[in-house]
Symmetry: D2
Subunit: 346 residues, 4 copies
């Protein structure tokens, strides 16, 4: 059946580099390390020039911070601390100095909630450039400016062109660019922050890839901060299908040994199992579809959802509250990293 | 494997009565008719007292209007006309008279975009009650008032209690209640308006069913207008799995006869086929899972998604723009139905 | 000329009781004391039953807190502390106990910035009533609920009726009502918070006085918190005219003695002078109008502005930023006073 | 007394050129004509190079449209028609051709209601530039783009610099710039639209004059559309004082002849009188202050209000509703003038 599936020209839409990593590519130009800080996971993926050919992502450091509910106040503070440390780290490794001037850009549409992360973060960002012009800046504050380019459908102008114009005007030493991303998995949506020195493709999260915003374009460091806020139906189904395999594998393992019926099949944490379904089990339980490799299965899902226009890009229903918190966290983290003297009491 | 699946106590969350209808229940207290107006589909489901026992939905008339993109101006006008006609019809069949006073209630959280349909509609609703008190109302305008109870998490007060208090104060002859609903299928999200005289369960769309708002509670007619704006991951996967069966069925039908490879598997409208997979095909293609009946398959999905907390309720990423249009359409439709004299030039 | 002026039926629109106080009325049922806390002034006016006849304001304690720029972070904290202490005080003197339940009501129109103080404060208020119903409340949290009745033009329902309905439903032990007020002087606008146990006239700030919300109406304590956010042209002119007299008085005093020209007439703080213009000076400098008493001069201004519809109610152009801070301050103060256990870390 | 008043360095803040016109300057480089269309007044002031020296305003055509309540639907439509005709006229006289490309700029702070006219208008403006790039534009639509530079306090970047960057990027054939202005009289606030080909001083409305946006700066036509939305206390007092003179003049005229007391001093339209107070009357009624010329009286008011920081810039309390309507009207008018093919049905 697989031969009927057209594989060409489709790659699942994602900006999450960490999910393009695969054990096989290790030592071929991509390295991956990870550390847990409480229940926050920080993953570092480094893509070299060589690695770019394999994963199709720009060379650079990609830090991926994965956390639980950000609307919880205690958790918020812990995540903020981790974001601050990792952002500091990326600035340092990019050779950015204490007095370098920064332009912070918030991509996305301020009037579309799941796409408003960039503008929301900018609302919380401290700017000092005009005070520098007036000679009124205290010690501990860097020269910063901010810009919200909005989206092309609203301004009529390509985002890239707009940013070019502003960069030429402001002449910053480096850029920080914030954007909402498309997720490569259910569990990352609104629960991951990616920080990278490799720049960004504006609008790639919503499927209209355009020219890149990165060091090659501007000849200055471009730090990108992104959060996946949307996911497509295909990814939801793909993930669920794989969880289903895991669940069956866990069931087989546990039922066979105990011969007992599950007391509470709604709460057992089946993801812990190391067991994988065998080829035979896959075929028995899920048929030919169950034996497809990842690429083929994704292509199948695309062929199912695409002709009837149901490959929706969706966002969780709590998006309004989560995006406010994320914008606050990212804005505050930028302030604390860029300005030593910044110490909000409120 | 199916015997391991716990079926009890789960029903997919939906307020869309039309999707609980099933050919088998016809003539057992539930009737279903439908008509196309251009590319707008209007379905009428009538549930009798007897029917209530079968489908678990309150007796009454449920009109379900399904349409394409509401952000298109021409389409918007066509849908509005259909909504107006159907709402008029429901008012008439409920015995509501021209001079009966109306309280219009917008349920949901104004600050949560996918849940803000009710409040948005209320923003567009014309109120005249205070003008009646002043004796300043022109011919052609009914006595109307509106209320946004917000949600319990914001007010601390049960929505039902709040509405009780207001109904006792305003003493309307009938209620119109507007709310965002949970969808029972991908294709209905933001593309269906349900109008019913059977009332509503406030908050049922977000899984916190509470006491009903209906004629039994208030002793006056309660007309409910709802749009499904959210859908859960389970429903997305369930629908996709069924589309997949249809797709394979179509493929078998067409490939076998023609022996030709598909030119464009991304655009073929495979839903037209009448062919269903045979049991053998289901098992071959999708294994044991492919042979599960609907109930069992939904229970399986729930067992997969629930323990790992991934049965997200989601909304399409364009929700901000769609909800504005839906709120405008519903508000305007109510104005035109309630007030003969209403004729906005802008 | 004064005989031509019609004095009847006009009183300058204000809800600021402190400005109706006058040295002459002391000991006739109205007492006034004041204290400075840093540069914050706290005035206490106590109106007895007897005093009501004189000033036309309901008997009770009126605490008036006057401060400088609330958008300054340090100042904000100082003002909040003073508001908390005074609100505690009023609750105590009203006999409200630690476990008494409270309904907090935010009057005004959420969509009209200068009238949105009540709704903004409510946005920051913590509600627990539904948690009490669930038995999930920690020690240190009182039973609280909140309500935004919006304005009659939006709901079609009299604010008073709406509140009556809710009070009957919620049955609180006492009410806190927050509203934007009309100011009796330029300098109070957005810079004064009035706290009283005497209740409030909803909408009096915008000139549509309605029935009172107070202890007489509900048989429970009604604490009102108000900030003057608007002022009319008449008051601006009246104040300016009186400042002008003060300025001339200061000038005469200083020029006469020194015979020197003023170096910087734009920055001299002329309000410090104790000198008043003599009747002769008033007539020489400002003519017959200069000799009018307060009542007559206000009536004159009204006769000038009213027929040509220029007695505008206005608000400072910074209103958006100030109202956000005021709403936050009042909401937080209420939380800290009502809940011992409330201690926001963010 | 007048000798004590420092006159230098103050000019009342206004961007309303029509109010700097004075009968004396006629034939010295400034001409003034006016026409009534229903109850809408359209004034044309033409300032020549010579005129610039007299009134301090840039040479060009200034069209000033004065109207009544814009929140009335019928009136709205009439005003829109007049604005469209006058804007067309200014474009034509500026030599702008049908296919010339346009960049529309909305100055001001989107988050400060009285300063948000520009951003609100932009929200209603149709942009086509990106469709031109795609070759997807129907006949009848000009190439347009829009930009909201926000304010320097938010971006850290001088508005002028930001616009320079965008103009260089977009390379339009002409600019339309929209801004909220400071009013030179009570009666103009929110009731006047000024259209000019002389450009604009961004931020002049709020007292921070910066570099001009005009033809000299960009070498392309710059059409400015402004509405006075704020007025300072000084202007309110100055206007009221002059209305007071008018009122007394009317009273003397009418009381003297009739010897009757006024029946309704609150509704008589005293502005109709042609009579002016004599010098003697001015002195008798208003003293020395009554005899000051305009300049001296304004300086006096400034000396009174400035040292105590009470020269507030204020806006009418209905600003939220009015600014929405004005933004809609200006946006729609621009669309209809720029695009022949534009014909909104909704």
């Amino acid at each position: 059946m697989a031969h009927e599936i057209d594989l060409k020209n489709y790659s699942v839409r994602t900006d999450m580099v960490v999910d393009t990593f695969d054990a096989e590519v290790e030592n071929k130009g991509i390295t991956h390390t990870s550390v847990n800080i409480g229940d926050i996971l920080v993953e570092d993926v480094v893509v070299t020039k060589n690695g770019e050919k394999i994963c199709g992502k720009k060379p650079g450091v990609y830090k991926t911070i994965t956390f639980k509910d950000i609307t919880d106040k205690d958790n918020y503070k812990k995540v903020e601390e981790v974001v601050i440390n990792n952002l500091k780290n990326v600035l340092k490794s990019s050779g950015i100095k204490d007095r370098d001037t920064c332009l912070i850009i918030g991509l996305g549409n301020p009037k579309s909630t799941p796409d408003s992360l960039g503008p929301k973060a900018i609302d919380n960002v401290l700017v000092t450039r005009y005070l520098y012009d007036l000679g009124e800046v205290e010690e501990g504050y860097r020269n910063t400016a901010s810009f919200i380019p909005n989206v092309t459908g609203v301004t009529g102008i390509e985002t890239k062109d707009l940013i070019n114009g502003i960069v030429k005007t402001v002449k910053p030493d480096f850029l920080i660019v914030i954007d909402a991303l498309a997720s490569s998995s259910i569990e990352r949506v609104n629960k991951t922050i990616q920080i990278t020195d490799a720049g960004i493709l504006p609008g790639s999260g919503v499927g209209n890839s355009r020219e890149a915003l990165n060091k090659d374009t501007y000849k200055i460091p471009v730090i990108a901060i992104g959060v996946p806020t949307i996911v497509d139906a295909l990814t939801i189904c793909y993930d669920t299908f794989n969880y289903m395999k895991k669940k069956f594998s866990y069931n087989i393992d546990n039922v066979d040994s105990s011969k007992l019926k599950f007391v509470d099949s709604m709460h057992q944490n089946y993801l812990d199992t190391d067991r994988e379904l065998t080829k035979e089990e896959e075929e028995k339980i899920l048929g030919m579809v169950g034996t497809l490799d990842d690429e083929d299965f994704k292509s199948l899902l695309l062929e199912v959802l695409s002709p009837i226009d149901y490959n929706l890009m969706v966002t969780p229903k709590e998006i309004d509250f989560v995006i406010d918190k994320l914008g606050l966290l990212i804005g505050n983290s930028i302030n604390k990293v860029l300005h030593n003297g910044y110490n909000p009491t409120n």
